[in-house]
């Protein structure tokens, strides 16, 4: 439930809940959750289904997750071309404390960080280029 603005809303009115980008647990796309766990999951082996994603996210996320030495296997698939769903399977080594959830989170965070670096480095490179031209 959104906590934002609930108290400030006009009383008695049926306000539609406002979804804020930062609101956790509220990412629903057309009624489907952004992420669900597919059946048959254990702590160290989970198949996730991510809504509204494709190879843009899938392939590089797979790569980032695979770089984690605690990860035994990670692969992704788009089960059907006309469904906007992307499945990602993660298995971590059972003798590590890293669960598949940890590995996914780690992969996502690493990729965000890599994005930051690229954005930063691009600005630097662009400035440098302009300086060299001036």
């Amino acid at each position: 439930m959104s906590v934002n603005g609930d108290t400030s809303m006009a009383d008695g009115e049926h306000e539609t809940e406002v979804m804020e980008p930062g609101d956790e647990e509220d990412i629903l796309l057309g009624g489907t959750p952004k992420l669900v766990v597919l059946r048959g999951a254990t702590t160290h082996a989970v198949s996730f289904q991510i809504e509204k994603e494709d190879h843009t996210l899938g392939n590089s996320l797979r790569y980032f997750i695979n770089k984690n030495p605690d990860v035994e296997f990670c692969g992704y698939t788009i089960p059907h071309p006309s469904e906007t769903k992307m499945n990602i399977r993660i298995q971590t080594w059972e003798d590590t404390g890293t669960t598949a959830f940890d590995a996914l989170r780690k992969g996502l965070e690493d990729m965000i960080e890599a994005c930051d670096v690229v954005s930063e480095k691009f600005t630097e490179a662009r400035d440098e280029f302009e300086k060299s031209k001036a």
Partner: protein, 327 residues
């Protein structure tokens, strides 16, 4: 989280990313930027390419209301042409709402759309050319969003139609925010050149040839030199080598500057990642000890699915994900 000191892409010195991604800008001209991305994976470079092509929000004409059209061109034809006209999209990502998400209106408003009008009539014996510059923004916003981009010397913009004497065209357009994944008219980039391994040292491709592949296939000299051509490459072929330099040649449509396309592309990618993190919820709830529920039983009330309580939404249960498995 336990990660045995693994610290991501910048960690292992054996990895390509030992120093993190590197960028070199090689050429910049209006509407174009040529740069090299290094020390990152092909997968990641490709994600950036894909996101810059198809997922950066821009504005384009989406609905056209014809009042008068006595030209030789049918309404649909003109509507399609209007959709493709480049409209200024600087700051669309943050300053314009998606109409479908707009909380301010039931249909469309200034915060989620730009209205443009066109009214032309040919009264002279000479044909009248109707250009993008003839599209008039109906006041409402106090920024440049939705203004037709006029890049030609005469500042006309693209030609929409030609009218003979007596013909008239009167219409109004609603331009909306969207992404190129939905329709190519929302693409911010005209083309993105993307290449790695210009000398094919990694043998990711096998050139067809009649006599000699080297003579018959073009090589981007600039990229080839960057990688310092090695003639003895064949002798020392290593199947484990990963590509590490990615040559981007980014060409903008003109509605967003190329460097902005790069930054916005990266930030769109980050938003996607953040959404999944948010969908993952606070780490360790949900899968209690990895016991998977019986798929033939309804989902537990507290929701096996991450992100929200099962497949329930503010509008009720949905077919997909209602049992928490996505099926």
């Amino acid at each position: 989280m336990a990660h045995n000191n693994y610290n991501g892409y910048a960690g292992d010195s054996m990895e390509v990313e030992s120093t993190g991604p590197k960028v070199t800008v090689r050429e910049v001209e209006p509407g174009r930027c040529d740069f090299v991305l290094q020390s990152c994976s092909l997968a990641f470079a490709n994600s950036i390419r894909r996101v810059m092509l198809a997922e950066i929000p821009t504005i384009a004409i989406d609905l056209v209301d014809f009042e008068i059209n006595t030209t030789v061109l049918p309404d649909e034809f003109l509507a399609h042409r209007l959709g493709l006209i480049p409209l200024n999209s600087v700051n669309v990502a943050k300053d314009l709402q998606y109409t479908r998400d707009c909380t301010n209106c039931d249909d469309h408003c200034d915060q989620c759309s730009v209205t443009l009008r066109l009214h032309v009539k040919c009264t002279s014996p000479e044909n009248l050319h109707v250009f993008a510059k003839d599209l008039m923004i109906v006041d409402g916003r106090n920024d440049d969003i939705g203004r037709p981009v006029l890049k030609d010397a005469a500042r006309n913009g693209p030609l929409i139609a030609k009218l003979r004497k007596g013909q008239e065209l009167k219409l109004s357009c609603i331009a909306k925010k969207g992404i190129a994944k939905e329709h190519a008219k929302w693409a911010p980039s005209a083309a993105i050149g993307f290449e790695y391994d210009p000398n094919n040292k990694l043998k990711h491709t096998d050139y067809w040839y009649e006599v000699d592949a080297k003579d018959e296939w073009p090589v981007d000299q600039k990229n080839a030199e960057w990688e310092s051509e090695e003639t003895a490459a064949d002798a020392s072929f290593d199947p484990d080598v990963q590509p590490s330099a990615f040559f981007f040649d980014l060409e903008s449509v003109g509605i967003i500057e190329p460097d902005d396309i790069v930054h916005q592309g990266v930030s769109v990618l980050q938003t996607k990642l953040a959404e999944v993190i948010s969908g993952l919820g606070s780490s360790d709830h949900g899968l209690n000890g990895g016991v998977s529920p019986d798929p033939y039983e309804p989902a537990p009330a507290d929701g096996y699915a991450y992100g929200a309580r099962g497949g329930t939404t503010p509008y009720g249960a949905t077919a997909y994900g209602s049992n928490g498995f996505g099926y």
